[in-house]
């Protein structure tokens, strides 16, 4: 599904990613861990098409297409979803309006009719229960005045509605208390299917207690320095990143 080959990325003149290789197949859950400054967020930003990054070498293929050549909205329509580390507050645009506009943009891309208001409401009310969110969040401005946990739940709610093929979760666990973490994890688990893949970026092992990955990779100084199964995360937690050659955070 996703094939990252020898990806080099600069921010300005500074090399951040220095040859990342990663292959994700349908239905797989991959976790990328690593110390601060390793390039984890850069990787998620480059995959989603955020401006300000220069790819100097390498390529990213998604479903056989050149991902890096696509505009962000096209990536989204093709099924790539980024859950933001810091979801943006958008005063004046209601949550439900954004989600309906997003879903309809996707449907239009797929040659489907737009979903009408009533059907959409039924759908969204069904999904919102999963994230244990109050319906009033639908009518509030996107993320405005939401707590950290509410923002992250809202990201997963959007994923649940857009039904992407590939979810990139950028530190979705950061800033969550243990109850919110469990709810978010439950939401993520409910999205897991045979076909849908995940790339989870995280600092800490604790997320992995609730969302079991198939593979764990350690990103340090712009490269994947170690890959393994879920047990690698536990080992990291015990030994710290210095063990795999990362600098202390």
């Amino acid at each position: 599904m996703l094939n990252i080959e020898n990806l080099h990325v600069n921010v300005g003149d500074k090399a951040i990613l220095k040859g990342v290789n990663l292959q994700i197949k349908p239905g797989e859950v991959h976790t990328i861990m690593g110390p601060n400054g390793a390039g984890k967020s850069t990787l998620s930003h480059v995959l989603s098409g955020k401006a300000g990054y220069t790819v100097t070498q390498g390529k990213v293929t998604y479903m056989g297409k050149d991902l890096l050549g696509m505009e962000p909205e096209l990536r989204a329509r093709e099924g790539v979803f980024l859950a933001f580390q810091y979801p943006v507050e958008i005063p004046g645009v209601s949550n439900i309006y954004l989600m309906k506009a997003a879903l309809n943009a996707n449907r239009k891309h797929q040659g489907l009719d737009e979903v009408d208001a009533m059907d959409f409401l039924t759908l969204v009310k069904d999904k919102i229960k999963l994230l244990q969110m109050d319906e009033k969040f639908l009518y509030r401005a996107v993320n405005e005045g939401f707590s950290g946990g509410e923002k992250k739940r809202n990201e997963i709610l959007q994923a649940a509605i857009l039904e992407p093929k590939l979810c990139v979760l950028d530190e979705t666990d950061s800033g969550l208390d243990i109850d919110a973490l469990k709810i978010v994890a439950k939401g993520i688990n409910s999205l897991r299917t045979e076909q849908r893949s995940f790339l989870m970026i995280t600092h800490y092992q604790r997320m992995l207690d609730y969302v079991k990955p198939d593979f764990v990779h350690v990103l340090a100084d712009g490269r994947i320095v170690k890959s393994g199964g879920p047990e690698l995360a536990l080992e990291l937690e015990a030994k710290g990143y210095q063990w795999v050659g990362g600098k202390a955070a």
Binding site: A76, F81, L82, V88, P91, G92, Y97, L98, A101, A117
Partner: protein
């Protein structure tokens, strides 16, 4: 110079047609006003309060009062599109009251709503008591011009403790080329009374000049909400002045929507007595070469008054927006609580926003805040929307709409809210969304 001379000469021709000929006190006001105007002409860029707005085009052209009003020629459907159904309505066409288009059905007998012409005939003492008392001719020469030239207007008197059941709408309509439409309005809301007034300005695509001055008296514990919808035609010149005297514990809310005209200048000035409150909201949207100038002045004269102000502007192409806001706090006005904000969104490289917030504070125990921003749409927000499958143009449109809709959202009158929302959606259309979700 010759332009000013043309106005002076023209005044001699039209003077005899103005209302209130038999009232000596009014004639004196007009003579004094004419004299102030004659001495200075229209305000110029040299005056500090007019430095961002060049109105020399008005002087170069001679706008003159209309002579014949053919009310039948009015496109009723067009007029209806601005008319609230649930309101007492007065319509002024080309500067003159049109009885045929107005409706005061069901108005309580205790409440007075008249055209200014009728008020001067039926109740001149009451008009005399208030005319030029909220704003002096010396304020600036456009006010003097208005006092000398006004041909009609709206007179509203709401007696003590009366809560008017429906809003009052004044529709100011211009349909003639080169027309000069000058109206003078007086609103008096007596102690503990409450009323909602809507001033609507519309016109066709000809060049014309509207000059409207509204003097307002909100007495003790009284409550006035005033909406202004400025939807003038796109070649029109518009001057509108709202001058308010607020008594103790009174409340005044103003919502100022400036969407139309080629060049518009709007004054909103209010003087606050003890523990009174004012809430000034504004939204100006300019495109092409539109120029929209908002001038607000809040004077805290006594302690414990509260003033809140939020003006937002959206400027595209070569449009220019001006915000000059003064909050004045007198020495006696301790415990003043005031906040003034102006936010401008520039959608093109050639658009311009000039903002001049001013605080003059002579008391030492007050809370006064102010803020101004001039900027573009937030790139982070645009990226967020794009990452949710929304294309860039739609994302920008959504954010611009949201920026404006904050101000429309403050409109409590349902009918007016729907009308304003419709106008916003015309400018920044939102695809397939239920209104209640906006």
């Amino acid at each position: 110079m010759s332009g000013l001379q043309n106005y002076k000469t023209d005044y001699q021709q039209i003077q005899a047609d103005l209302p209130g000929q038999s009232l000596a006190w009014l004639q004196q006001i007009r003579i004094d006003a004419f004299s102030v105007f004659s001495d200075t002409g229209f305000p110029s860029l040299r005056e500090e309060e007019w430095r961002y707005t060049n109105i020399s085009a008005i002087e170069k052209k001679l706008f003159s009062p209309s002579t014949n009003v053919d009310s039948n020629a009015i496109d009723q459907a067009w007029l209806d599109s601005f008319c609230l159904k649930d309101a007492y309505t007065l319509v002024i066409i080309n500067g003159r009251f049109s009885k045929a288009h107005s409706s005061l059905k069901g108005l309580p007998e205790t409440v007075t709503i008249l055209s200014m012409g009728d008020a001067l005939e039926q109740n001149p003492e009451l008009v005399e008591k208030y005319l030029t008392k909220a704003v002096a001719n010396e304020e600036h020469s456009f006010v003097a011009f208005n006092s000398a030239w006004f041909s009609d207007g709206l007179f509203v008197h709401v007696p003590v403790k009366q809560v008017l059941d429906k809003p009052v709408q004044l529709i100011h309509l211009v349909t003639q080329a080169d027309c000069l439409a000058v109206s003078r309005n007086i609103l008096i809301v007596e102690d503990m009374a409450q009323v909602e007034v809507i001033e609507t300005f519309v016109g066709d695509s000809n060049a014309y000049l509207t000059a409207s001055v509204t003097e307002i008296f909100v007495e003790k514990n009284a409550d006035l909400t005033l909406y202004k919808m400025q939807n003038e035609g796109d070649k029109a010149y518009h001057f509108g002045g709202t001058y308010v005297k607020q008594a103790k514990h009174s409340r005044f809310k103003h919502h100022n929507f400036a969407f139309g005209s080629l060049l518009a200048r709007n004054d909103v000035h209010t003087d606050l007595d003890m523990a009174s409150e004012c809430d000034l909201n504004g939204l100006y949207i300019g495109v092409k070469r539109q120029h929209i100038d908002n001038h607000t002045r809040i004077k805290h004269m006594q302690p414990h008054a509260i003033s809140k102000e939020m003006y937002k502007g959206i400027l595209n192409q070569r449009a220019k927006g001006v915000f000059q806001g003064l909050v004045f706090v007198a020495e006696d006005a301790q415990k003043t609580d005031s906040v003034m904000n102006n936010r401008n969104l520039l959608l093109s490289n050639d658009a311009e926003a000039d903002a001049k917030p001013q605080l003059k504070i002579y008391a030492d125990d007050v809370k006064c805040a102010h803020g101004v921003t001039v900027g573009q749409l937030d790139e982070k927000s645009i990226f967020y929307l794009k990452s949710r499958a929304i294309d860039e143009a739609t994302a920008r449109n959504m954010l611009t709409f949201a920026f404006a809709n904050e101000m429309v959202g403050k409109v409590d009158n349902k009918e007016l809210h729907t009308m304003l929302l419709g106008q916003l959606l015309q400018r920044f259309s939102q695809k397939s969304v239920d209104e209640k979700w906006l």
